[in-house]
């Protein structure tokens, strides 16, 4: 009886957005009298930080610092339609809608600034700090604060924009299955290292090295929190979780966090995250949706590592100590 070590690899891809498309999201953007910007949505922030990302996307597009953008969302009386936060679609769909709305608002903002500066709007650029400058002559400038005041009180303009993003729905061809499930895919490759105790069947995941390709890391800190969390969830799916451990007998189903097995902090592997960015053609600043993908590759990587360690295949999830011991027993009997 011994502790045996093994490692396994898995490589995957994952579609961004609702399968087969047809999932719209809208956004509205407007400026306050003093040149702050409101983004209005009905998308839901699940704790992943959607509001923060929409603020950064709006700020980038308009050309102001992120702290001048406020996101108002998840209210059906005020927010335009969003299909919902699922299918790794939030950033991709809502982000594109926000970009379109922010571009329209930016155009009005530049037109008002052009009138104030007596130049053409096409000759203006933003400095990202809250000012609008004449290209090539940055001493000639006006603050966005003053542009907004002018629009509201002097020129009677609404610095606002409407945004809409929709990928037309694809209908699978009945006989061949020809279809367009998605317009862009995120990618991953994970290598997991495990120790398996062949006496108890217990698996310890030592390290998980994840490489994720996500189009563009819009906010690297938030990317990290999502990818690390997903990686832990993958380990949990591989080794621990089921609501019905002895189905169809339902007596052993967990009813709280004491009974429903998930890894605790002490069970978590050393986790490495490496991010590659190949911008997608239709993503907001190239972003893809890695929200679901990031929990997938750990499952087969751990399963393959268990085989590498003890030479038995557990093809039924979760890979419990009981299943490993039964497989080892069967292997010894053969």
């Amino acid at each position: 009886m011994a502790i045996r070590r093994g490692r396994g690899v898995a490589a995957i891809n994952y579609p961004t957005g609702m399968n087969l498309g047809g999932d719209p999201t809208q956004a509205l953007v407007h400026s306050t009298p003093t040149g702050n910007f409101m983004v209005t949505l009905s998308s839901v922030d699940l704790g992943q930080g959607m509001k923060q990302i929409m603020a950064q996307i709006c700020a980038e597009t308009i050309g102001v610092p992120t702290d001048r953008v406020v996101v108002d969302t998840a209210d059906t009386d005020t927010g335009p339609h969003c299909m919902g936060t699922f299918a790794s679609r939030g950033t991709h769909r809502a982000g594109n809608a926000v970009i379109q709305a922010a571009r329209e608002a930016r155009q009005v903002m530049l037109e008002v600034a052009a009138e104030e500066l007596e130049v053409n709007a096409s000759d203006l650029e933003t400095d990202g700090q809250g000012n609008i400058l004449v290209k090539g002559a940055p001493q000639k400038s006006i603050s966005i604060f003053d542009v907004a005041l002018s629009a509201h009180f002097k020129r009677g303009r609404s610095i606002s924009g409407r945004g809409m993003f929709l990928i037309p729905r694809s209908y699978p061809e009945k006989e061949t299955g020809a279809m367009k499930p998605s317009t862009c895919y995120a990618h991953a490759c994970t290598v997991a290292e495990v120790e398996v105790d062949d006496e108890t069947g217990e698996v310890t995941v030592l390290t998980v090295k994840n490489v994720f390709e996500i189009g563009r890391a819009l906010n690297p800190k938030m990317v990290e929190q999502q990818l690390v969390g997903g990686s832990w969830m993958g380990i949990s799916h591989a080794l621990y979780e089921t609501t019905e451990p002895y189905y169809p007998n339902r007596d052993h189903g967990g009813t709280d966090f004491n009974q429903y097995l998930m890894p605790g902090p002490g069970d978590l592997a050393e986790t490495e995250i490496i991010v590659l960015e190949r911008p997608s053609a239709d993503g907001p600043y190239g972003a893809k949706g890695p929200g679901e993908m990031c929990a997938n590759p750990q499952i087969p990587a751990v399963a393959n590592a268990v085989f590498d360690a003890v030479g038995v295949r557990i093809d039924t999830l979760p890979i419990t100590p009981e299943r490993i011991l039964r497989a080892l027993k069967a292997q010894a009997a053969n």
């Binding site: 490589a11 969003c82 936060t85 499930p181 990618h187 609501t243 967990g254 190949r278 997938n296 393959n304």
Partner: protein
């Protein structure tokens, strides 16, 4: 975390101001100091609590329901049964024309899974609602149940859901969603090795910090404000409008920060019945799942079975792949027909294979209805595919990572569902993993690229 900017630098401009910056989240300080408002922080004077009477049987006919003792219980204000729900038979994906309507808000004549909602009790306190629910008497005639997908698909199996008429979802393509590409049998015939393996999974709970729920307030102008942690505001509002036969203009849904979704909050379960309770009593109503309900009643990730048959050459090329996927929807559709169909679009994985045959089935059993969960339709498929890849590599005596390079898809490769590959990056992920994990592969693989040659 490390950003490896050396990959794809030629197709990416890194000239942005706000994007790419690790800005602190504006909502974090409120989260960590307890100031963020969640739906359950709403508390209205006179608010009622809703509790469900649930089926103790997997499959049973309801002979009668007697609520007389429960009605007398102190604190009980209203008891709802199927006849109180204006449009009791519904299905959530009807909004995107994926029918038929196949599920009851409150069971009508029959229950099809253990835990199904039968009677709703509204009372002054949570405790009174719970105690009164225990006094509702339901007389059941237990029916034979089917627990296994293969059993459910056999002729003569008990029929789970009459609205479907058979124990599988009927796609326009028939009993399954199909993908046919090349000639899979010819591929097998020419292969050096054939490997057919079967993979299975069990339902998984989303385990969010915050359980599913809502708080409803009648506004006095015939409108109802529903504070909810749904993941999809208008999807829930529009379905509620159908179920209650109430114009959408009467409904105001307010969300906000949700304490974790993972797909568990895209079923429309708590809002319609809570709004109905508020309408019929004229009082605010809250309906919040207990942790036990969240773990054993709310839809889990589906149990799946995936059978993969591959033909592989000694040099490492996969020449044919046949995948049969089964998704256990449980008793009702919810999002499972969508999930099973998503699988058909995902197989055969990120590999270029000339001959592919895919069938994905959505199967009905007397199991807790499954639905959306992070990656559903793909997650378990990837487990099966990637374990299969490991087995194939070992079968032909090849390094598992190198074996994947040989088959990895690249820009321009035609996928089985007849879309050319665009924006591929699998090869680069594997190259970086090879370095990071100190898992060396031959130099020719490190020299590969996802780009089209000469483009």
């Amino acid at each position: 975390m490390e950003l490896r900017k050396n990959y794809f630098a030629d197709v990416r401009k890194d000239d942005l101001h706000e994007i790419g910056q690790p800005r602190p989240r504006s909502d974090s300080p409120a989260h960590v100091t307890g100031k963020t408002a969640f739906f359950a922080d709403r508390n209205f004077p006179g608010m009622l609590h809703l509790k469900m009477v649930r089926s103790p049987h997997h499959h049973a006919r309801i002979r009668s329901i007697d609520t007389s003792e429960a009605e007398k219980h102190p604190g009980v204000v209203k008891i709802l049964t199927a006849k109180d729900v204006p449009h009791n038979v519904y299905t959530i994906l009807i909004l995107i024309q994926v029918g038929p309507e196949d599920e009851t808000v409150l069971a009508d004549g029959k229950v099809r899974w253990k835990g199904e909602a039968v009677v709703a009790v509204l009372a002054e306190t949570e405790r009174a609602a719970q105690e009164a629910a225990a006094k509702v008497k339901v007389d059941y005639e237990v029916l034979p149940a089917v627990f296994d997908m293969e059993e459910a698909l056999k002729p003569g199996a008990p029929l789970v859901n009459e609205y479907h008429g058979q124990n599988y979802y009927l796609y326009d393509s028939g009993e399954c969603r199909k993908v046919r590409f090349g000639d899979v049998e010819a591929g097998f015939a020419g292969a050096d090795h054939i490997l057919e393996e079967s993979y299975q999974s069990s339902p998984i709970e989303h385990a969010p910090t915050e359980t599913t729920g809502c708080v409803v307030a009648p506004e006095g102008n015939d409108r109802f404000t529903c504070y909810t942690n749904t993941q999809a505001m208008f999807f829930t509002l529009d379905n509620t409008s159908i179920i209650l036969q109430m114009p959408g203009s009467k409904l105001h849904f307010v969300g906000g920060t949700v304490g974790g979704g993972f797909g568990g909050k895209v079923d429309v379960i708590v809002e319609p019945i809570a709004i109905l309770g508020a309408k019929l009593t004229g009082r605010p109503v809250c309906f919040i799942y207990s942790r036990e309900e969240e773990m054993q009643i709310s839809s889990p990730r589906a149990a799946e079975k995936v059978v993969i048959k591959d033909g592989v050459m000694k040099d490492g090329r996969i020449v044919a792949r046949k995948v049969t996927g089964y998704t256990d929807a449980g008793a009702y559709s919810r999002h499972s027909p969508y999930g099973a169909q998503k699988g058909a679009g995902h197989y055969p994985g990120p590999y270029t294979i000339p001959n592919v045959w895919i069938d994905t089935y959505c199967v009905y059993t007397n199991r807790t209805p499954s639905s959306a969960m992070r990656g559903f339709g793909v997650t378990i498929g990837d487990f099966a595919l990637e374990v299969q890849m490991d087995k194939l590599a070992r079968l032909i005596g090849m390094d598992p990572l190198e074996f994947r390079f040989i088959n990895a898809y690249r820009d321009g490769d035609m996928k089985a569902h007849r879309q050319p590959t665009e924006g591929a990056a699998l090869i680069e992920c594997m190259q970086e993993a090879s370095r990071a994990a100190n898992w060396p592969v031959a130099e020719k693989y490190m020299a590969m690229s996802s780009y089209v040659k000469g483009a």
